[in-house]
């Protein structure tokens, strides 16, 4: 690690990680490398294995198989050195001590730490310092957990749905603090169910579903995964079978005269529609993250042809992005 010839270790280096609880396969072979300074959004529906994966990265749960290194250390080794910390939803607080005492206590447990007031200020709760924790609101307690996570000055910060319960303004200031931190070289990985947060604040999105990583790349790359675009048009008595047969078309839906087509070749479809049919009011839009999210995480049986095609294309752009 001190040698100048070797590259600095990855913030997270997980290989072949597997975890089951009885007959429930929570995590089924996860490979994930996060480089220092990245801001990674961790997306996925409930039960996808996000929390279990986070618990293993923090050393709160041991993997059944595979290996996890955090800055070249075991997860517990990284925690003991203050290299990794987290804001977890499940973390409890002592109600009978004050906000400042809580952060003081946390700080005292680390060999190296930032000043307590600095952590309180950056979490935006310096003015609450002398309040008993039991008297703080849910959002204030969440910011206290954030201050506790900051006081060890971690190189990797993990946030499990950090802005739940915050209003729009609090959320905005929270993320600008995170951004400023990352500029200093802090690596951030956050789980969220706000797709716009992932879209807006993350450099990279890791999408998990049913215990596996199903997509990993920049926001733009992820959007491209669900082949191309959505074309909408007005066409009375549309011949759906003919439309489905146009090259590149994945699905066709109608609502009255309005037809929505998902296609990998929007130019070809537009040319076809405008030259051989009566279609008008043509609109071509990019897929939003939400439709990608749904397409990648819903059960295969519940969706049309798209996912089969996706499953084949998912790996190619991703491996490049992960490196």
């Amino acid at each position: 690690m001190t040698s100048s010839t070797t590259r600095p270790p990855a913030a997270i280096d997980a290989r072949g990680v597997v975890k089951s609880f009885g007959s429930v396969h929570a995590v089924r072979g996860v490979d994930l490398t996060v480089q220092p300074g990245e801001i990674v959004a961790f997306l996925g529906p409930n039960g996808a294995g996000k929390t279990t994966t986070i618990d293993m990265i923090l050393g709160l749960t041991n993997a059944d198989a595979g290996s996890i290194e955090v800055f070249g250390h075991t997860p517990r080794g990284a925690v003991a050195r203050g290299l990794i910390s987290a804001v977890l939803q499940t973390g409890g607080l002592l109600k009978d001590i004050t906000v400042r005492e809580t952060v003081e206590l946390t700080a005292s447990l680390f060999a190296e730490r930032r000043p307590v007031d600095e952590a309180l200020e950056r979490a935006g709760i310096l003015e609450l310092a002398n309040r008993r924790v039991g008297l703080c609101s849910g959002g204030e307690q969440q910011r206290l957990r954030f201050a506790m996570a900051l006081v060890s000055d971690p190189a990797l910060l993990i946030l499990d749905e950090p802005t739940t319960g915050m209003d729009v303004e609090a959320r905005r200031s929270f993320w600008s603090a995170i951004r400023a931190d990352a500029a200093r070289g802090r690596t951030v990985m956050f789980a969220t169910h706000y797709l716009e947060e992932a879209d807006e604040y993350a450099d990279r999105i890791v999408l998990m579903s049913r215990g596996s990583i199903v997509a990993d790349g920049t926001t733009a790359e992820i959007k491209n995964l669900v082949s191309g675009r959505v074309v909408q048009l007005t066409l009375p008595n549309a011949d759906l079978t003919a439309l489905s047969a146009v090259p590149g078309v994945d699905s066709v839906e109608t609502a009255g005269d309005r037809v929505t087509v998902h296609t990998r070749d929007s130019d070809g479809l537009a040319r076809h529609l405008l030259t051989t049919t009566e279609a008008r009011d043509l609109e071509i839009t990019a897929q939003n993250l939400e439709s990608v999210f749904l397409a990648l995480t819903t059960e295969p049986a519940a969706s049309i042809d798209a996912p089969t095609h996706l499953a084949a294309s998912v790996d190619a752009p991703l491996n490049g992005a992960a490196r």
Binding site: A80, G92, L93, L94, D96, E104, A111, R184
Partner: protein, 265 residues
């Protein structure tokens, strides 16, 4: 601001710090109920039960001839009760903090789980000592007379024996049944055990079958041992066996349930 460094040390002593110990003591001071039952209650009970027995001799030796009063017997018992209560709360607080998720929060820090228990044990023992000193001081002012050796040996014995047996009892229950109400349940159990074990009045005043049960409780052995300096007659082997066996049972139980608990998480 400086860049984030990756080369960092691991804290010494598994994360033990005086800051944590100080905060544990502060939390106890802020808890009026806990303070009452560990410190005020023994003092109060000494006054109610013991004060009137200042002139009643405990042995055949009259008090005028240097004998020890029954009030001294009550004093040791009550002081011990305070130390027992304080020790039991150590385990109960471990259980409550686990239920609240605080233990999980602490696992994001370098603090070793055993050091966490050690900090709580030390804080509990310190409060137990406060209870004993408070009861002894009040009794001394009220007129209890003992030799210097009797004061010190009975006090230390009450403190250490109650601490050892009841800290482990509390921890065992705490790891066995997680929850925020463990404190109330264990307090009730300790009161019951104190009655049965002859802490509030001598076993010899009880019916035969209760005496038999009383001799088997974990309070009896340590109580007899702590009070033995008063009579100068030594203690019987049964008391020693009682204390050793119960301590062994509670230590084994604590280890077993602690392991079961860490496996589960």
């Amino acid at each position: 601001m400086t860049a984030i460094t990756l080369d960092r040390p691991v804290p010494a002593l598994g994360g033990f710090t005086l800051t944590y110990l100080r905060l544990e003591l502060v939390r106890k001071i802020r808890n009026p109920r806990g303070l009452f039952f560990t410190v005020a209650f023994p003092v109060l009970m000494f006054f109610i039960v013991g004060y009137q027995l200042l002139d009643t001799p405990l042995t055949d030796t009259p008090i005028a001839a240097g004998g020890v009063s029954v009030a001294a017997y009550i004093m040791v018992s009550m002081a011990m009760y305070g130390a027992m209560m304080s020790a039991t709360q150590t385990g109960a607080s471990v259980a409550a903090e686990r239920a609240q998720g605080w233990t999980r929060q602490l696992r994001l820090t370098p603090l070793n789980p055993l050091v966490n228990v050690a900090v709580k044990t030390i804080a509990g023992m310190m409060f137990g000592l406060v209870a004993i000193i408070a009861t002894y001081l009040v009794a001394m002012i009220a007129g209890v007379e003992l030799s210097a050796v009797q004061w010190i040996v009975s006090g230390l014995a009450a403190w250490l024996l109650a601490g050892a047996v009841f800290t482990t009892l509390g921890l065992m229950v705490g790891y066995m049944v997680p929850g925020e109400n463990v404190a109330q349940i264990t307090s009730l159990v300790v009161v019951l055990l104190a009655f049965l074990g002859g802490l509030f009045f001598p076993l010899s005043n009880m019916p035969d079958f209760l005496q038999t049960i009383g001799r088997l409780t974990p309070v009896y052995g340590i109580g007899e041992l702590a009070r033995s300096p008063l009579t100068g007659e030594g203690f019987d082997l049964g008391a020693l066996i009682n204390a050793v066996v119960w301590l062994a049972v509670f230590v084994a139980g604590t280890v077993y349930f602690f392991r079961r608990d860490t496996r589960r998480s």
